[in-house]
């Protein structure tokens, strides 16, 4: 079972406590943007096999949105971080670089 630590309340939440929210760090394109950007924002996804940055909500806990870095090919979790970031923090990248060296 997937277990993620909520960065706000610090609790380890099981998958049943959490709601998945899809790919993280999407750049929003709204009215006035060109068709290609709007399509990319609404529909196109990296769907990475490997490191995947994604949104989760601690639905049956504190109720807040947070972000997670997870490997979609191994189910390894590299860490979670608050949603108010435009890109993953450096320590997450360090953990991703360290993977497999355990």
């Amino acid at each position: 079972m997937l277990i993620l630590r909520c960065p706000y309340c610090g609790l380890n939440g099981e998958e049943t406590e959490l709601s998945p929210g899809g790919e993280a760090h999407l750049k929003r394109f709204g009215p006035g943007s060109d068709d290609a950007s709007f399509e990319a924002y609404l529909f196109l996804r990296n769907n990475a096999k490997g490191v995947h940055f994604e949104r989760w909500r601690h639905a049956y806990g504190c109720g807040k949105w947070f972000l997670a870095a997870r490997d979609s090919a191994t189910l390894e979790v590299y860490g979670t971080y608050p949603a108010q970031t435009s890109e993953p923090p450096a320590d997450i990248f360090a953990r991703i670089a360290d993977r497999g060296r355990g």
Binding site: M1, E15, E39, F43, R45, N46, A48
Partner: protein, 414 residues
């Protein structure tokens, strides 16, 4: 290829069955093909089969990173139906169901198509309205389905409890010519027919790169070396995003795990397929007597062919109310497959930004039923550049807002 017939069985019986030969050939890849199909699952093999049968294109290789039919073709719950709401869906799924009717004869290989009938249960008033609407739409589309009342549901499937306190059966959408087929046999029969036409099926050959020259595909890099081609068809379900990335574009879909399970074998007790979308479960009985049960998808991206246990629990918990007798059944095994799900829950059969490269993906949780129809349309798309069956399923529909919205029509289960 030696044809199967009653005469052939009698002849082989007299000589210790030594004359059957291989079902499909094992050959090393050639340096170049007219068409390369990536993915030797049902859809890839059907595409190759109809390229040869309908268009005479037989210089074709089908590349498979694992083994033939070892992906979702070998992992699904084998349900065949065509009771979709939207016109383009009804057209391609009904074409497919119709092709399944005679596929054993066409392939000279028994795929065990069993048109035993499919009931989609309505267990909420919302579903009653939805399925009545689908039945009306189907009658306009020439798809034979009907709305049936609860007593008819009980008559068709006596082991069902239709008075459940939480999810009473309020009726159902009945497709009498829906049913099941033997999933492995579909892959094996198509592979045999492809070999017979001189095509090469190359297993354990993973595509690692897509070669392009001036925006046009020229070949693929594989674990068995480079192979050149004029046209490339990518038919790899869950890994479509990975292949698209190799060709430099993204797709409007995400890959998630979908699970199924089977019980221990029991005596025949259920001769129809029942789908209960409200509780995310569907069930049929295999020829071996196992109850074949499918559940819902996980909500997060996953390539591991393993799903979360709570979905199995949820499916069984809900199904035991409608089928009380399965509460005492032991479950034999459970497995997962990676399904590629689009936003409108409809597939993509399309040209791509790379000239000469075509993609067939996004079948999500319901690809098995579509294998012959998808192959028929995809072959026409590759051979002619357009097909009436596939034109509504292009990649451009997302940008243009022409969704084929089946997520409401079909609920979650397929």
């Amino acid at each position: 290829m030696r044809r199967f017939s009653a005469f052939a069985i009698a002849r082989e019986a007299l000589r210790h069955h030594e004359g059957w030969g291989r079902t499909w050939a094992k050959r090393p890849p050639k340096a170049r093909y007219d068409v390369i199909i990536v993915g030797a699952g049902g859809h890839g093999l059907a595409t190759a089969y109809y390229l040869g049968r309908n268009f005479g294109i037989t210089n074709v290789a089908i590349l498979e990173k694992g083994w033939l039919g070892g992906g979702n073709t070998g992992r699904n719950t084998t349900i065949i139906r065509s009771n979709y709401l939207q016109d383009p869906s009804a057209a391609i799924y009904e074409k497919s169901r119709d092709l399944y009717e005679t596929l054993s004869q066409d392939l000279n290989y028994n795929i065990m198509f069993s048109p035993r009938g499919v009931i989609m249960l309505a267990q909420t008033h919302h579903e009653v309205r939805g399925y009545k609407r689908t039945a009306h739409a189907n009658s306009l589309q020439g798809v034979s389905t009907e709305w049936i009342e609860p007593d008819r549901v009980k008559e068709l499937c006596p082991i069902m409890n239709i008075d459940g306190p939480r999810y009473p059966v309020l009726g159902g959408l009945w497709q009498a010519r829906g049913g099941t087929a033997r999933h492995d046999a579909v892959a094996w029969g198509l592979a045999r027919a492809c070999t017979d036409m001189g095509m090469d099926i190359i297993q354990k050959c993973e595509v690692t790169g897509i070669d392009r020259d001036g925006g046009r595909v020229t070949g693929v890099q594989t674990t068995q070396g480079p192979i050149a081609c004029d046209k490339l068809g990518v038919v790899v379900a869950g890994h479509s995003g990975v292949l698209a990335q190799m060709a430099g574009f993204r797709l409007p879909l995400e890959s998630v795990a979908l699970q199924a399970l089977v019980s221990e074998p029991i005596k025949p007790c259920m001769d129809v397929v029942v789908m209960a979308n409200t509780v995310h479960g569907y069930m049929s009985q295999s020829d071996k007597g196992e109850m074949v049960i499918g559940g819902g998808t996980d909500g997060f991206n996953n390539y591991t062919q393993r799903g979360s246990f709570q979905h199995i629990e949820e499916t069984l918990r809900a199904l035991t109310e409608t089928f009380p007798m399965i509460s005492r059944l032991k479950m034999l095994r459970q497995w997962g497959g990676i399904v590629d799900v689009t936003g409108d829950r409809s597939p993509i059969l399309s040209k791509t930004p790379v000239d000469g490269m075509f993609i067939n993906c996004g079948w999500g949780t319901g690809g098995f039923k579509a294998i012959p129809g998808s192959g028929w349309g995809m072959a026409e798309l590759i051979a002619r550049g357009h097909s009436p069956l596939t034109e509504a399923f292009g990649l451009d529909r997302f940008r243009e807002g022409r969704f084929i919205d089946e997520s409401v029509a079909a609920g979650v289960a397929h």
